[in-house]
């Protein structure tokens, strides 16, 4: 216990005292000792340790995480404290990315703090501890106290309490514990509270899915360009882009120009989530190109996009799916596609 903990603090150009937006492209630098909000941090950790260095990087600078880590290594840190970033989006994402990287590469606890709507929360709350803050620097004191407290607990390998108790964003972990009442009793209590319109706290938070307002329909199908998309894992033989058979991180785009139907010998299915035999025998059972070509000839629809888009939807983390979806959407827009048929297994 006698040994003093070495704390490294990460700040952006603003809190690091370099400048405001006009200095946002400043590259990474390190300085021994504390800067700005680091003074408050020093006050809090002084019994146990010392803020030995501050790393600073501009918000617009493409944060080369390895570069920042290299800068802090000479100080042999025991803890990284990043931020707090409040509602500053780029700063929050940088704090989250740096904490996650430091935790992995240096194997030391890394804690940051931000406001719930900071995009850094959604991106990193599963990987690291992010303390909840208000949306502006008025919450500086509280945020730094909580970050330092949690980081020291982590170094000491003390038990970390629930998200509510410690003030961090839930990381989606389940912990074994004893409850006063049985599951059945708790479920009934919750139901009764719900029926009476009283507040209750769910024990299992379900993932939240976004809702989107249905876009305007296709006005004239006979002149519309339709694209085919599938998450059923149909790929050309040999899977040229190595699309993962589960937990996909990418999608493929393959030409169907002048192709009337997808021949079984040219395609493969790399999806591990269903029995792929039927689709391997006839890819049309997943991607209905043959009937769409007929309809194209019959002028029921305008044109089929020359490309079909494909990925595998098995155990795919939501964030990957969103990224894949955004990527496909971007291409479809470039190709001026009017509507999409997406087929799922």
């Amino acid at each position: 216990m006698a040994q003093k903990l070495k704390v490294v603090h990460y700040l952006n150009q603003f809190f690091g005292g370099i400048g405001a937006e006009e200095k946002a492209s400043e590259g990474p630098k390190v300085q021994a000792g504390v800067i700005g909000p680091g003074r408050a941090l020093q006050e809090i950790v002084k019994d146990r340790g010392e803020v030995v260095a501050t790393v600073i990087c501009g918000d617009n600078y493409f944060t080369e995480k390895t570069e920042l880590i290299k800068l802090m290594v000479p100080y042999q840190p025991d803890i990284l404290i990043a931020g707090p970033a409040f509602n500053a989006g780029r700063y929050g994402v940088a704090c989250g990315a740096l904490c996650a990287a430091v935790q992995e590469k240096l194997g030391i606890p890394a804690v940051t703090a931000m406001y719930q709507e900071n995009p850094g929360v959604g991106l990193y709350k599963k990987d690291i501890y992010i303390i909840k803050t208000a949306d502006s620097a008025k919450d500086m004191g509280g945020a730094i106290t909580k970050m330092a407290g949690l980081a020291i607990k982590l170094v000491d390998k003390k038990e970390i309490g629930s998200p509510d108790k410690e003030g961090y964003f839930p990381r989606g972990m389940l912990k074994l514990g004893f409850a006063e009442k049985t599951t059945a009793e708790r479920a009934v209590d919750m139901l009764v509270a719900k029926l009476q319109g009283k507040p209750f706290e769910t024990e299992l938070h379900l993932p939240e899915f976004e809702r989107v307002k249905p876009p305007a329909p296709v006005k004239n199908l006979a002149s519309a360009k339709i694209a085919l998309v599938t998450d059923g894992g149909l790929v050309p033989k040999g899977n040229p882009d190595n699309i993962e058979s589960l937990k996909a991180t990418r999608f493929g785009m393959y030409s169907i120009k002048n192709i009337q139907r997808l021949n079984a010998q040219d395609y493969d299915v790399v999806h591990v989530g269903y029995d792929t035999k039927a689709v391997k025998e006839d890819p049309q059972r997943l991607v209905p190109l043959d009937v769409l070509r007929d309809m194209e000839k019959e002028k029921i629809l305008g044109k089929i996009d020359d490309i079909f888009y494909t990925t595998t939807g098995v155990a795919t983390p939501l964030e990957n799916s969103r990224k894949i979806g955004r990527g496909i959407a971007e291409r479809l827009k470039q190709d001026r596609v009017d509507a999409v048929i997406l087929t799922s297994t």
């Binding site: 899915f209 976004e210 809702r211 989107v212 249905p214 876009p215 305007a216 329909p217 296709v218 006005k219 199908l221 519309a224 339709i226 998309v229 998450d231 059923g232 269903y274 029995d275 792929t276 035999k277 039927a278 689709v279 025998e281 006839d282 049309q284 059972r285 997943l286 991607v287 209905p288 043959d290 009937v291 769409l292 007929d294 309809m295 029921i300 629809l301 990925t311 939807g313 939501l318 799916s321 969103r322 894949i324 979806g325 955004r326 496909i328 959407a329 971007e330 479809l332 827009k333 596609v337 009017d338 509507a339 999409v340 048929i341 997406l342 087929t343 799922s344 297994t345």
Partner: protein, 76 residues
């Protein structure tokens, strides 16, 4: 989730799937019921022509769904 991202970009998307509860949960707006998990647009028990006919019916439904003005999710 991919359908949501594509519709966010303003492109109407017909989601053909047999797992309609999942499609509803993730937020697809235009949902067309497929003909089985392992072959949403086919049927191994049908002859070639009958199977193609079935596929055409489902695709037709998907195309129709793209022409409907919606205010919320619908299973077609």
């Amino acid at each position: 989730v991919i359908t949501v991202e594509i519709e966010k970009a303003g492109i109407p998307t017909a989601h053909v799937t047999t797992m309609t509860p999942v499609a509803l949960m993730i937020g697809s707006n235009r949902i067309i019921v497929g003909n089985g998990i392992v072959h949403p647009l086919g049927d191994v028990k049908l002859s070639g022509e009958a199977e193609k006919e079935l596929r055409r019916t489902i695709v037709r439904k998907a195309l129709d769904s793209l022409q409907v003005d919606l205010t919320s999710q619908r299973v077609f």
